[in-house]
């Protein structure tokens, strides 16, 4: 009898062990733009769905059959991914979901948004729960190689910065060598700061909201986070604490956070489509094609570059197929329904107070990093 009982209990013990092992893997640093590359993210093996490599994309076929794009997003990052009072999604990342839907389906509204937590997002791409992940995800080696994912062209170059009170008179990060710094816990932000200022006292909080309260109560001298986050927080700093003018974001940037769309590794055709939608919005800005003039430009293209971008003939020349498996005029839909890179930035990021000029997110012709390979 005793033997039988112990035998019956054995499988249960194994299950319990599995529970514990999985519990150890799922750590959630949830929340904000500073999403550390969690080792746990890589534990999920890349799936071997039977999408053939080459010219035919399984995901593209699924999206067309379904009639909508499944896009993994964030719903609580100001200016990048927000759930608005009327139940709709809006933001910089959301607009790129719309752009991909416009390119593939011709309708920027044909998107099903799936809000994802920081720890669930990579699994969601690997398991095909979402077709594309556009959720302020930093491009890192581990994620690109080990997790079996593909990163498209970076849409936003973020980086860690430092915000201080204007009244304190700090002008560079080095002035804060012995100061108290507030940061979010469990993020790469925390590690970067320890590298940069080893002698500073670090105080960590679990959310930007509690962090802001601590900062207002002067429990720390500096507030470190991604610059896009800091700018958003600064622009809406409570008026009774001095408003935005009471704060200064120092110029220095001490980490690289290139954010962009993520797709699964084994469908190169699909990754190309997503990538060239991003590049197309940048090319459109370089060429001065906007949502208001795209129709006119398509009817009468001013240059061969514009004609190629919009998939129309120029000077009697035949239209060349891009080989992307989508309509050659896909960029017309994207630009008409969503806009070019500059317009997407203007609509979403400028209102939260992140100036574009002079940053890495300016066009390369203006000294930034936003650059489009030739569209031909």
């Amino acid at each position: 009898m005793t033997l039988k009982r112990s035998v019956a209990i054995l499988p249960l013990l194994l299950v319990a062990l599995a529970v514990i092992v999985f519990a150890a893997c799922g750590d959630d640093d949830d929340g904000d733009a500073t999403d550390s590359p969690t080792p746990g993210d890589g534990t999920a093996a890349p799936t071997d769905t039977d999408a053939p490599s080459g010219s035919h994309s399984q995901i593209l076929q699924d999206v067309i059959d379904r009639g909508s794009l499944n896009c993994g997003v964030n719903n609580a990052v100001p200016g990048f991914g927000n759930l608005l009072p009327d139940g709709s999604f809006a933001g910089f990342d959301i607009d790129y979901c719309k752009a991909v839907a416009a390119a593939v389906l011709g309708d920027s509204e044909a998107v099903d948004y799936t809000p994802l937590s920081a720890s669930a997002r990579l699994t969601a791409v690997q398991t095909g729960q979402v077709d594309v992940l556009i959720r302020n995800t930093t491009w890192t080696t581990g994620r690109d190689a080990d997790s079996g994912l593909t990163f498209a062209t970076t849409t936003f170059y973020d980086g860690q910065g430092m915000m201080v009170r204007a009244a304190d008179g700090f002008t560079s990060v080095d002035d804060l060598a012995a100061a108290t710094i507030c940061s979010l816990e469990g993020t790469t932000t925390e590690l970067n700061l320890t590298d940069r200022l080893p002698d500073a006292e670090l105080v960590t909080y679990d959310s930007n909201d509690t962090l802001q309260t601590a900062f207002i109560e002067e429990r720390c001298d500096g507030w470190t986070s991604d610059k896009s986050q800091l700018a958003g927080r600064r622009s809406e700093f409570p008026a009774d604490s001095g408003g935005p003018e009471a704060l200064v974001v120092l110029g220095e940037t001490f980490s690289k956070e290139p954010l962009g769309p993520v797709t699964i590794d084994n469908d190169a055709q699909w990754s190309d489509i997503v990538n060239w939608v991003v590049i197309g919005t940048i090319a459109a800005e370089e060429l001065g094609v906007t949502s208001s003039n795209v129709a006119a430009m398509a009817a009468d293209p001013p240059s061969v570059s514009v004609a190629r971008l919009l998939g129309v003939g120029f000077g009697g020349e035949a239209v060349t197929d891009t080989g992307l498996d989508v309509d050659v005029t896909f960029m017309q839909d994207v630009i008409a329904q969503v806009g070019n890179y500059g317009e997407i930035y203007e609509t979403n990021v400028t209102p939260i107070g992140i100036v574009r000029a002079g940053t890495l997110n300016a066009l390369w012709t203006d000294g930034g990093m936003i650059y489009s390979p030739p569209f031909k």
Binding site: I9, D86, G87, D112, S119, A120, T123, S207, G232, P351
Partner: protein, 418 residues
């Protein structure tokens, strides 16, 4: 000494009474006096700060603008009528139940309702105000329709009919809304398909809590009975289940139901050789499963306590009357056992209701998640305190109502009186 021989106490003016009371209770010694003064100062300061925040500092537009999100999350606005139908049905059954079971003393609930009127007018406008009014009218109509039944010979039949209406209504609401979109692919013939990730806010919290309570309670009772079983296989299974689940945090169980099943089921899969395209594992269903499995283990232990409290003599008396094992259990042991553990059960239900907020880790937009999402909207950045206070009020109202309902249930069943 008799009362008659004692002189009648002099009638003192109220301020003298108050003074004497204060001296006896608040300033009886120097130490107590200091304590009183310090406490009064601290309490007034806290009250002043709270009032200043609520009436001066706070900007309540975030709540007003996000009413829809707080109540239903990203639920499609065109499909709101479904929720209104659900609310009217609930209001009618609640009105009926209140009259059939509720306290006859209406002063306190009416005073509470009156206190809510300003909130209700502040919170709602347009269609929502009209539809909420018709909900309240439905509640009142059902209450008065059941008015004569409470003290008539039809009462028991009306009560059992109402219980069945609740059960059928619950299933009618849940089967198409909760299970249908999760298990069947494609579009739903008569009604358009609302994906469950578009459920949210208070609606989602209540769906999770009601399904969690309604399913985990019977499951927990079965587990408790199984644990007391004389069949080793059943007993060992129940003990192992209860001890395993109770040893693991709820967050872990939610993660497990999400990640492990997610990895097991791809976007294209086959069951028994039949390919299922567009199959999608419902996150809400996973969350429900996690909550049910977790809560059932705790309920099982509570019910086991109740079972053990029923004296052995009761079982023997039942057997002496010629009742079978099942009859002894359902007619004699369980009614007494469950009645004895109502307070602990309701605590567990309230706790489950609040635990639903943990589903935010699955990126579901429940009530707490909305309070994190709204302060990230451009224009409302940083107004998290207002949002959190508002949902705290909602959680309190629901939890407090559950607690009051359980007290009424105890009174009806005469707990502690016989």
């Amino acid at each position: 000494m008799t009362a008659a021989s004692r002189p009648a106490p002099p009638v003192l003016p109220p301020h003298v009474v108050a003074f004497r009371w204060a001296r006896a209770n608040l300033f009886s010694s120097p130490g107590n006096s200091v304590l009183t003064v310090v406490t009064v100062v601290m309490l007034s300061f806290a009250a002043f700060q709270a009032a200043r925040f609520v009436f001066a500092t706070a900007e309540w537009e975030i709540i007003e603008a996000n009413r829809g999100l707080f109540f239903t999350g990203p639920f499609p606005r065109d499909e709101f009528w479904r929720i209104w139908v659900l609310l009217h049905g609930t209001a009618a059954l609640s009105g009926l139940s209140w009259r059939l079971w509720g306290s006859l003393d209406l002063r306190r609930p009416l005073a509470f309702a009156a206190a809510c009127v300003p909130l209700y007018i502040f919170m709602l406008e347009g269609d929502a105000l009209i539809l909420t009014s018709t909900c309240i009218a439905t509640f009142a109509a059902a209450y008065f329709a059941a008015w004569p039944v409470r003290f008539s010979r039809f009462r028991d039949r009306a009560r059992s009919t109402t219980v069945w209406l609740w059960i059928l209504g619950f299933m009618a609401a849940m089967l198409p809304t909760a299970l249908y979109p999760s298990f069947l692919p494609g579009q739903g013939g008569l009604f358009s398909h609302v994906p469950d990730r578009e459920w949210g806010g208070f609606f989602l919290t209540m769906v999770l809590a009601t399904v969690g309570i309604a399913v985990s309670f019977p499951l927990g009772v079965l587990l408790a009975i199984g644990r007391a079983s004389t069949f080793p296989v059943i007993r060992i299974f129940c003990v192992a289940y209860i001890e395993m689940i109770r040893a693991v945090p709820l967050v872990t169980i939610l993660y497990m139901s999400f990640f492990i099943l997610r990895l097991a089921i791809r976007h294209e899969t086959s069951v028994l050789g039949i390919p299922i395209t567009g199959y999608e594992m419902s996150v809400v269903f996973m969350a429900m499963l996690g909550l049910i499995l977790f809560s059932a283990a705790y309920i099982a232990e509570i019910v086991r306590g109740g079972l053990q409290a029923v004296p052995r003599g009761q079982v023997e008396a039942g057997q002496a009357l010629g009742l079978g094992g099942l009859q002894v259990l359902t007619l004699i042991v369980l009614p007494q056992a469950l009645r004895a553990v109502i307070p602990a059960l309701v605590s567990q239900f309230i706790s489950l209701f609040k635990d639903t907020s943990l589903v935010f880790i699955l990126a579901l937009t429940d009530l707490l998640a909305v309070a994190r999402i709204a302060p990230a909207q451009p224009g409302f950045i940083g107004h998290h305190a207002e949002a959190l206070l508002f949902i705290a009020l909602i959680y309190w109202v629901v939890a407090f109502s559950m607690s009051r309902a359980s007290q009424q249930l105890e009174r009806n069943l005469g707990v502690g009186e016989r």
